[in-house]
């Protein structure tokens, strides 16, 4: 659909969207919208028919009044369309007309009700389709797209922008159509009753349009000033609430209050303009309405006196008059709705036109490839153990990566992880550790070299298939709204409740969950604020295991965790790693010690590779890192047995005295010594 040679506008970044507001009659946008309407053609047709019926019935009431006046109330002999059915006796005639009037009201009610229902229902369906398209489209975007674009903005595309379109469909287009129909119907009725009088009324249309136009000019200018004032006020408030500490620390309160006073006064004065515009507009437009009545009465009176018109027509026109002026005013208001809807429309289609920059290789089509996702996950049987997946072999072969240009984040990285082996990756912040994982998960495509999983280049793996081999724990323990169980199984019904419970036990999470009154069904909110950071990490562990991975990818979090949970986590990690091929970005000494080998990353390169003891003996980067980040963990998190021994061993290895008990803080993870 879109020409690849044309540079595409990135819709997420509002700045690149042209400032010029969308034109109302942007036919291309309308044409694309109509595509969404086309499945609902019958509904649209029905709706239009009902709208016409409703407009016609609206004309009937005043006409019936006219007939009543002319035929029975005033001493006239006027003829009407209904003469054939009208009783001669005045009272009976009135009864008949009243019943007819009520009937038109009721039919009008039915027509309006069904019309509203059908139209809004259709609108809702169209919006649903559109939302689904936008959401599904977002799902096809490469991971990096979400780094570049604010999630909030993207959410707006799916929600508010689609809503603005809905507003256009339901209040805008339909109302405009209804207004126009009513206008036409009333004018036709008036012309039928009295062309002269109609002309008299129609003469008022130009002044009304002029007044509306002038008002709109003023109101628009006023509202522009108001919007500006509101924005200024809100920015000022927001900024000063956030920076209140600075305001107070620098004793700036009086000045701030003065500034706010000025801004507020400007805000108020901007509103004054708008109030003035309204205060003038309403009386003027209403007076024009009364002028219309005056013309009716005087000119109508003249025509009556000439015998050219009946009194009934004048009475009917009195009612028609109000039905003409309202739609004329309304029409101009709809313009704004249409305008903002078009702007939303442009943003939505702009996003839909943004194609993923990195095409997924062999990825099943998002919209139709659901079947391809089924095969792997079979429910985890009771007692099946977590090591069910057959371990994988992973190899990085001369891998280079840069986020942009030649700014290498990884340089010529090569290593292998043998089936069943655990590899710990250590290094300072920015050494490229997390990038290794991002490449392995294919969040980013590596620039040069080869990454092999089970002997096959990851470029050849279908993305979902590849990822289903992995059990992933990312640094930040993301949570989803839903129950704890939903979070562990990630709403995947193929993971059984038993499996969830089993992995929860495995990672030391079960006792905590069972202590909650709702157990596994306890609801979490998105931020997971009801769980501590450490508990959220345990949930992520359980999540990784519940999906029976063949390769465990663990990016250890550096955040502090309370002592109790820390012990649970430290105990859980070796159990996670056991029986899996694992790659662990380690921050805990205990994790490192449980690894088979340690890979030391430094400035994007592999510097050292070997066991803990070997690397310490080398006295290189690892030895320094060890002293800096891990050594004190030994003395702080003293564990009887194995850990204690190694601590003593290593201490003598480096030829250092055991440093004095360091800190009573619960965790360190090097955070304290690292410049933040």
């Amino acid at each position: 659909m879109s020409d690849p040679a044309v540079p595409r506008r990135s819709t997420g970044e509002g700045k690149t969207v042209p400032k010029k507001s969308a034109r109302i009659a942007d036919t291309r946008l309308i044409a694309r919208l109509v595509v969404y309407l086309s499945p609902y053609r019958p509904a649209v047709a029905v709706s239009i028919v009902l709208l016409i019926i409703h407009s016609l019935l609206g004309v009937a009431g005043p006409y019936l009044t006219k007939v009543a006046v002319d035929r029975y109330l005033a001493a006239g002999t006027a003829t009407s369309l209904l003469d054939a059915w009208l009783p001669l006796e005045p009272r009976a005639g009135l009864d008949f007309l009243a019943v007819l009037y009520i009937a038109t009201l009721l039919i009008g009610f039915a027509a309006r009700y069904f019309q509203t229902y059908v139209m809004h229902y259709t609108g809702q369906r169209v919006m649903r389709d559109l939302r689904l398209d936008v959401f599904n489209h977002l799902q096809t975007m490469e991971t990096r797209f979400f780094d570049r674009n604010q999630v909030g903005r993207l959410v707006t595309r799916v929600t508010s922008d689609v809503d603005a379109l809905n507003e256009m469909f339901t209040s805008g287009v339909v109302a405009v159509f209804g207004d126009v129909l009513t206008l036409v119907a009333v004018f036709v009725a008036m012309l039928y009753l009295s062309p002269e009088l109609t002309l008299g009324i129609a003469a008022l249309t130009p002044p009304i349009l002029v007044v509306v136009f002038v008002f709109r000019q003023h109101a628009r200018a006023a509202y522009r000033a108001v919007r500006q004032a509101v924005a200024t006020t809100n920015t000022f408030l927001q900024e000063h609430i956030s920076g209140m500490k600075i305001v107070q620390l620098f004793a700036h309160e009086r000045e701030s209050l003065k500034e706010f006073d000025e801004i507020s006064a400007a805000h108020r004065d901007a509103h004054r303009q708008a109030i003035r515009a309204h205060a003038v507009f309403y009386p003027v437009i209403e007076w024009l309405g009364v002028l219309g009545t005056g013309i009716l009465l005087f000119y109508g009176g003249y025509l009556v006196s000439e015998g050219a018109l009946t009194v009934g027509v004048v009475v009917a026109f009195l009612q028609y008059g109000t039905r003409v002026f309202r739609p004329i005013q309304d029409l101009s208001e709809k313009y704004n709705i249409l305008q903002s809807a078009m702007a939303s429309c442009e943003r939505i289609f702009g996003l839909l036109d943004t194609k993923p920059q990195e095409e997924a290789v062999g990825e099943p089509d998002v919209l139709s490839g659901d079947a391809a996702e089924q095969p792997v996950s079979s429910p985890l049987g009771v007692g099946a153990g977590v090591a069910a997946g057959v371990p994988l072999r992973v190899e990085f072969r001369n891998v280079w990566f840069a986020y942009k240009d030649e700014d290498w984040v990884l340089r010529d990285v090569s290593f292998t992880i043998e089936p069943g082996e655990t590899l710990a990756v250590v290094g300072r912040t920015g050494a490229g550790k997390t990038t290794l994982i991002n490449l392995l998960l294919r969040f980013y495509r590596h620039s040069k070299g080869e990454i092999l999983v089970a002997g096959k280049s990851i470029r050849e793996w279908p993305e979902d298939e590849l990822r289903r081999q992995f059990g992933v724990v990312l640094q930040e323990p993301y949570l989803f709204s839903g129950s704890i169980e939903d979070n562990i199984r990630m709403h995947d019904r193929t993971v059984s409740s038993e499996a969830v419970r089993e992995v929860a036990r495995e990672v030391n999470l079960a006792p905590f969950i069972e202590s909650l009154s709702n157990g596994y069904q306890t609801k979490l909110n998105e931020q997971g604020s009801s769980l501590s950071w450490g508990q959220r990490q345990l949930v992520s562990f359980a999540r990784a295991l519940a999906h029976r991975p063949r390769l465990l990818i663990l990016d250890e979090a550096t955040s502090s965790v309370d002592t109790q949970t820390e012990i649970l986590i430290r105990d859980a990690i070796p159990r996670l790693m056991k029986g899996h091929t694992s790659i662990v970005i380690a921050h805990r000494l205990s994790t490192i010690k449980h690894a088979d080998r340690i890979l030391v990353m430094h400035r994007g390169e592999v510097r050292e590779l070997g066991t803990h003891e070997e690397l310490l003996r080398q006295g290189g980067v690892y030895a320094k890192l060890y002293q800096l980040q891990y050594q004190e963990q030994e003395t702080r998190h003293w564990q009887p047995g194995e850990e204690g021994q190694t601590a003593a061993e290593t201490a003598s290895d480096v030829g250092e005295n055991v440093i004095p008990e360091q800190s009573s803080r619960e965790t360190g993870d090097g955070e304290k010594t690292k410049p933040s």
Binding site: I246, E253, S264, R268, E465, R467, V472
Partner: protein
């Protein structure tokens, strides 16, 4: 509700004369509105008889004149009464902000910015709508309603009785549907909210979703919620679809009654055709008040609820204040600083952030404070500035309790560089001169020079006029921090508090800044909170905090020799430097 509204009275009273004028206009406008159909009646009655065009012309002229005068009053009514509502909004907003300015940090811990913003914006607007259109339309509707009722009853009270049968039904319909539509709308909003948080969640957690190959499940959840939104909307449509047409029918019914029963009276000869037309005309006059009434009730309810939310803030009194806040003169401060058995715990926490701190810093001395994150360094700084008051003990300045010093004088004497840099979205000049308005160009440049930001500022095309933030230049963390330092220096403080002031600045630049500061610090009391030994060694004295207590104190050399925590920190920082070089 009445008790809530009472807090508006002081604001309303302020404008009593304008209110009186506005209501006078309102009464005149309403009376004339009711008068217009009478002129129509007179005209039509004229039409009905064997009439003269000149007499008809008189009546029409009367009609237009009444309408014209009505229009003039209508203008004044709106201009005055809506205008007052904007004035009251202005007053309220100002009071609101003044309250915010006086509240201590503790308040800002319990109220989020977003919450305060929504009170200052949407709640403020709801109250404004209550005060303006709420009051105006209530009075207007009531007067028109009563006026129409009076004229109609005087003309034909029996017909009037009939007409008034559907009217309570209309009001009932409006309030009945109004409530249901509101509830239903609420549910639609909830569903939309859920759906939008699912989108939010799926997109911001996109990595984990993809890592677990669970996009399809996300799509299914979204799709289900999407359908739910449609379902709830359809419920809303059903109500909506019935509501307006029903109103049409009911209002139409009043016309039918006039035509039917009024018609009979005309036939009887007990009513003129003009009165008949007048009744018809009154039905049109009544339409808007009848429909609008439900809307106004809603407006008043929402306004009252919002007023309560505003009041919650306005009624609070500042926790931290000093004597003589209205003084324009500042009390002079020499700069002796001391902590005397100071203990402080943050609200809601039982563990004190600092406990039993005793420290004497004579004027002009520089004390460096080191310690791990959470050891209480920042708390000490905040206590000096009275962002908090100690739970126990005293902070002394020049030998007197800081609580006895006017707050403005205290803070005027302070130059504070907080850990979290906050700059305002205005020019660099205004930011640096924030604590010293009316600073000369050279003074600002001098402060910038010392803070090592001058060269960079000079490289911007607009130099010190460069606007920061969203609409201007975005400075790096380090640059922002240096502007923050310049701002504290420009305040020309007696006591300088640097709370990890150079954390985003590299060690070399920090060293340069500290060397520049040396002359500045020489005659000022300085609290230098840092995590770099290289910075701390420049101080006259070094203090190491841990878990809110002073654990080591002394000179650089002495502390190194003691081989304690300071020594350990120093050794680690050496290692880090070595790693940098590898």
């Amino acid at each position: 509700m009445i008790s809530t509204l009472r807090s508006l009275f002081p604001y309303l009273i302020r404008y009593r004369w304008r209110f009186a004028a506005g209501f006078a206009a309102l009464v005149a406008k309403s009376v004339l509105t009711v008068g217009i159909p009478i002129a129509i009646k007179l005209s039509i009655d004229e039409l009905d008889a064997d009439f003269e065009l000149a007499v008809l012309g008189q009546w029409v002229g009367l009609l237009l004149a009444i309408a014209l005068i009505k229009g003039v009053f209508q203008y004044w009514m709106r201009w005055i009464l809506i205008g007052i509502s904007r004035d009251i909004e202005y007053d309220l907003r100002k009071d609101f902000f003044a309250s915010l300015l006086s509240f201590s940090q503790r308040f800002y811990h319990s109220y989020r910015t977003g919450d305060l913003m929504s009170r200052a914006t949407s709640d403020m607007e709801a109250v404004r709508l209550l005060v303006g259109p709420g009051i105006m339309y209530t009075a207007d509707f009531a007067l028109i309603f009563l006026g129409v009722l009076a004229v109609m009853s005087l003309t034909d009270w029996r017909l009037t009785c009939w007409i008034f049968i559907p009217i309570p039904v209309i009001s009932f319909t409006v309030s009945f549907y109004g409530k249901r539509i509101h509830d239903c709308f609420q549910r639609v909003q909830e569903c939309m909210g859920e759906m939008s948080s699912t989108v939010q969640e799926q997109l911001s957690n996109i990595r984990i979703v993809r890592a677990f190959a669970k996009q399809k499940i996300g799509r299914e959840r979204f799709s289900a919620q999407n359908d739910q939104v449609v379902a709830e909307n359809v419920k809303l449509i059903r109500l909506w679809g019935r509501f307006y047409p029903l109103l049409e029918v009911l209002i139409g019914l009043t016309y039918v009654i006039v035509m039917w029963l009024g018609g009979r009276r005309v036939l009887d000869g007990s009513m003129t055709l003009g009165s008949f037309a007048m009744f018809m005309s009154y039905m049109t006059v009544l339409t808007w008040p009848l429909i609008g009434f439900g809307w106004v009730v809603n407006l008043v309810q929402r306004g009252t609820a919002s007023l309560a939310r505003l009041d919650e803030i306005l009624k609070q009194r500042p926790e931290i204040y000093g004597p003589g806040e209205l003084d324009d003169e500042f009390t002079a401060v020499r700069g002796d600083l001391a902590f005397e058995h100071v203990t402080y715990a943050y609200p809601g926490s039982t563990d004190p952030a600092v406990s039993d701190i005793n420290l004497v810093i004579p004027a002009g001395q520089t004390v460096a404070i080191l310690g791990p994150t959470g050891s209480g360094k920042t708390t000490l700084a905040n206590l000096v500035a009275r962002l908090y008051d100690p739970r126990e003990g005293r902070v002394l300045i020049d030998g007197g309790d800081v609580r006895e010093l006017p707050l403005r004088s205290l803070r005027h004497a302070l130059g504070f560089v907080p850990q979290d840099t906050f700059l305002f979205g205005r020019s660099i000049r205004d930011n640096i001169a924030f604590g010293a308005l009316g600073s000369e160009e050279w003074e600002i440049a001098e402060a910038a020079e010392i803070a090592q930001i001058a060269a960079e500022v000079d490289s911007f095309p607009d130099r010190y006029e460069t606007v920061l933030g969203e609409r201007g230049v975005n400075l790096s963390g380090g640059q922002r921090q240096r502007v923050s330092i310049a701002r504290a220096l420009r305040a020309n403080p007696r006591i300088l508090v640097l709370d990890d002031a150079a954390s985003s600045v590299d060690a070399e630049t920090e060293g340069q800044i500290l060397r520049n500061l040396e002359s500045v610090m020489r005659n000022r009391t300085t609290l230098l909170i840092t995590h770099r030994v290289s910075a701390a060694r420049l101080a006259d004295r070094i203090i190491v905090l841990e878990s809110g207590r002073i654990v080591e104190e002394g000179l650089h050399g002495d502390l190194l020799a003691a081989r304690g925590r300071y020594w350990d920190l120093s050794r680690k920082q050496q290692l880090e430097e070595e790693l940098e070089i590898v």
